[in-house]
């Protein structure tokens, strides 16, 4: 095959992050979430959104006391599902955080790309409850009008009146990164002037049941890279980043948090649920080559770090494969130790963390870390946040289906 893959032939605009919004199990809004992650907060508690008495695990990372109303001005929050509510909240926060006056943006040149694992699972769960209760006649039109996942990106656009490119990328647990990557390309190609990109998922009985059945859920806390780690803990949340070309940000007097340097996607083509280090390594290598950077330039890795025995071991191996000896010098933490696995939102929240690490030279810890695992022997920033220069941060995410995505953020030199 003629190897004509190389630098992109079109679109060399520099794309930056100017706004961050997030709703997580440890708080909402950029400042609160960031401070709580740096201080090692924990978002784990017994599941409340459904009855877990028939399960052998009960821990979850739910968002308690979320009121969507303040974030809505056009749509009625009661007419959309919970993931959409979380997404709209994060999007509104991101726009405010970016100090973006939406009236000054041509609506046709502003768009939305979101990622998710499950869309609006509560709508299908409610369908199933009625099916089992033989009350199917009570299923209303909302099953179809609220459930399909593309509704999330659509409602964000509708609420904020963004009439440009709109896409939903359901790449499971790597979906946030996929969405950011796609929005990055849309902006680079000049197809929009501003993009909101991120991910959202609501706490789902279906997801919980599945991971419980796989024996993948930890009883109390999530302990990535710890020798005695007992698994992941499902969570929920949303994060949205405002992306725009650098010159546009500067024109309106905004100092970006970070620049998106590049990304890499790959597919294991190996197994639906078991990751493979080769595919993860390829995504990282592609992200580095897309960014024209060497591994040594990376100052922080936000790990996928789910806290399952296999993931953390394979991920460590993949990072070593790409970084060689430099792997031991790069801090690599997992915020899933604090907010659990927020599914499609996870890599979007972690992207926000990477942008903030680059902006503030601070690195959030891997919480609940007790005993090192010889098979996970990289620097996971145990328990204490760190102040350390971060010129460049890599955000890794891996998903069911063997979908891998790495996105790189760097300090924005202007």
């Amino acid at each position: 095959m003629p190897g004509s893959i190389g630098p992109r032939s079109i679109g060399r605009r520099r794309i930056v992050v100017t706004g961050i919004g997030a709703v997580t199990p440890v708080g909402a809004g950029r400042e609160e979430v960031w401070e709580n992650l740096l201080s090692g907060s924990s978002g784990f508690a017994p599941v409340e959104s459904f009855d877990t008495s028939r399960y052998n695990v009960h821990a979850g990372a739910e968002i308690k006391e979320f009121d969507p109303a303040p974030y809505f001005s056009r749509l009625d929050p009661q007419t959309v599902g919970r993931a959409t509510q979380l997404a709209i909240a994060a999007a509104r926060q991101a726009v405010d955080d970016a100090d973006l006056d939406l009236d000054s943006v041509e609506p046709e040149r502003a768009g939305v790309v979101m990622g998710t694992t499950s869309g609006e699972p509560r709508e299908v769960e409610s369908f199933d409850d009625r099916y089992v209760a033989e009350e199917l006649e009570q299923v209303g039109p909302e099953f179809i009008t609220r459930y399909p996942c593309h509704v999330i990106a659509g409602c964000v656009a509708s609420e904020l009146q963004l009439a440009g490119v709109n896409a939903m990328i359901p790449a499971a647990c790597a979906a946030g990164n996929y969405a950011l990557a796609h929005a990055f390309d849309v902006l680079r190609a000049g197809r929009a002037d501003v993009m909101l990109a991120g991910g959202a998922d609501s706490f789902s009985r279906i997801t919980y049941t599945g991971f419980a059945r796989l024996g993948a859920i930890a009883p109390e806390v999530c302990q990535p890279f710890d020798r005695n780690r007992k698994g992941m803990i499902p969570g929920e949340g949303a994060a949205v980043l405002v992306l725009e070309p650098l010159e546009r940000a500067l024109e309106r007097g905004r100092q970006p948090y970070a620049e998106v340097a590049g990304y890499g996607l790959s597919c294991d083509a190996h197994h639906m649920t078991a990751a493979h280090p080769e595919g993860a390594a390829r995504a990282m290598q592609r992200a580095l080559s897309d960014s024209s950077r060497q591994p040594e330039a990376v100052g922080y890795i936000s790990a996928h770090g789910t806290g399952t025995a296999t993931n953390d071991r394979l991920e460590t191996r993949a990072v070593k494969r790409v970084f060689g000896d430099a792997a031991y010098k790069v801090p690599m933490s997992s915020i899933k130790s604090m907010i659990g696995h927020t599914m499609g939102a996870a890599s979007a929240i972690e992207a926000a963390v990477c942008a903030l690490a680059v902006a503030t030279d601070r690195i959030p810890p891997t919480a609940h870390f007790e005993e090192p695992d010889p098979e996970c022997d990289l620097d996971c920033v145990p328990n204490e946040a760190r102040e350390q220069r971060v010129d460049m941060a890599m955000n890794n995410a891996y998903a069911f289906g063997g979908n891998n995505a790495s996105v790189i953020f760097e300090k924005c030199r202007t």
């Binding site: 299908v124 509708s158 599945g210 289906g401």
Partner: protein
């Protein structure tokens, strides 16, 4: 529209179609599908996949007697659900036509971008119901693995050894066209050389019942599905369908070099959103805008488009918005031949954009555009005069496909008929 769009410059890397795989209610090859559409065949039949007792909707564009083993041999398909089976077979057919043998796929990164509305809502719902009834410890691990919406893309990658970019695009009924646009873009921008792209959705009880409860399906008489006739004055809703359609997209130079069949070219695309979510006048503007974006991206004028494959599915409001938007975008071309293959295939959701593209590509290649089955009396004032119940001869290289979602998404794609001799001459001529 802003002038500052670098993508309107001709891109150095061109994207061609080198193979097609299709599993549809009207055949499993692009030629058979096109022949059936040209004859005005109907893909609607009484549903056999599940019990429709008590359901107002009993007909659909089902892929009858779908037997993946007849394509794939004796293999273990148990870990793979119907949506993924449709995709795996369509991919198999597309690789056969385009010459991507397993050996080649093992050597080179081939990507997959799949559009879908539901993935498999049947798998998701069955998984949940088993756990509800029998208890969570009896939840099925295979079903959980397939409960993610990207499961079909992941399973197909495993099946066919596809290690390149693998992505799933939702977007309701626009998903398939969005996936083609996404794939064309990653090739154009140098992120990939070869990406299989298109869309799929299965017919299942959950979606048929759900759509029935929205009132979006057409009425049913004793004789079968009712007036799901796109753009017809008497239309009263859609008929659901299913299937998978995939196009093998490749960078033009590398496709030529490996001696691949060249069937056509993806020239450009446009994607935008209607903030009224398909309920207001802005829906018309969104269709007009998406088409204008696609034309601009392709660098062609409305006057050069010689045929349109429309999204019309029989929905009262959606078809009207689409027609008015198309008429506005293609201004002065009221007589332009327009087909709407959902009149025969039904609303195949994530697959529909791919089916519309495959049908139009075959039409450009054969010079015959299918008609709109059942069209008797086009609604007045739609601005489209090129609607016909019968197939017509067309003489054009350039065609437009549009996809209009049920709730705001709009996408458009411009394709061109081209063969390897023409492409070779253009590339060596430095064009």
């Amino acid at each position: 529209m802003s002038a500052e769009t670098s993508h309107q410059e001709p891109a150095a890397r061109r994207v061609v179609v080198t193979g097609v795989g299709v599993v549809s209610p009207l055949g499993d090859s692009p030629r058979d599908l096109h022949a059936a559409l040209t004859e005005g065949a109907s893909g609607f039949r009484a549903v056999t996949l599940f019990d429709t007792d008590g359901l107002g909707a009993r007909h659909a564009g089902e892929v009858a007697d779908f037997a993946p083993e007849s394509y794939l041999g004796r293999v273990n398909l148990r870990p793979v659900d119907r949506t993924a089976r449709l995709v795996i077979v369509a991919a198999h057919l597309a690789f056969e036509e385009s010459g991507w043998t397993r050996e080649l796929r093992e050597e080179h990164d081939v990507g997959l971008v799949l559009g879908t509305m539901f993935g498999s809502v049947h798998t998701i719902s069955s998984f949940d119901r088993r756990a509800l009834v029998a208890g969570p410890s009896y939840a099925k691990p295979f079903d959980f693995a397939n409960s993610v919406i990207n499961a079909a893309a992941g399973q197909t990658a495993i099946w066919h050894a596809l290690r390149g970019i693998n992505s799933t695009v939702a977007g309701g009924t626009t998903a398939g066209l969005q996936a083609l646009a996404y794939a064309a873009e990653v090739i154009r921008t140098g992120r990939a050389d070869a990406v299989l792209a298109g869309g799929a959705d299965e017919l299942c009880f959950e979606s048929l019942y759900g759509f029935h409860q929205t009132g979006q399906l057409c009425s049913e008489g004793d004789g079968g599905a009712g007036h799901a006739v796109p753009f017809d004055a008497r239309r009263d809703g859609m008929v659901l369908g299913e299937g998978a359609g995939l196009l093998m997209l490749e960078e033009a130079g590398s496709a030529l070099e490996r001696g691949a069949p060249i069937l056509g070219e993806i020239r450009g695309h446009g994607n935008c959103y209607d903030c009224s979510r398909g309920t207001g006048e802005s829906a018309v503007d969104a269709v007009e805008r998406a088409v204008a974006l696609a034309l601009g991206d392709a660098g062609v004028s409305a006057g050069e488009i010689g045929a349109v494959s429309a999204a019309g599915n029989g929905s009262v409001l959606g078809d009207r918005h689409e027609a008015l938007g198309l008429a506005a975008a293609l201004g002065g071309r009221a007589d332009l031949p327009v087909t709407a293959v959902k009149s025969m295939l039904g609303e195949t959701l994530g697959a529909s954009g791919a089916f519309g593209t495959i049908a139009l590509l075959e039409s450009l290649r054969s010079g015959v555009l299918p008609g709109i089955r059942g069209l008797e009396e086009p609604e007045e004032g739609l601005g489209l005069e090129g609607l016909s119940p019968r197939a017509r001869e067309i003489e054009t290289r350039l065609g437009l496909i549009d996809a209009v979602g049920l709730d705001g998404n709009v996408c458009a794609l411009v394709i061109e008929r081209i063969d390897s001799e023409e492409l070779s001459a253009q590339l060596s001529g430095g064009a």
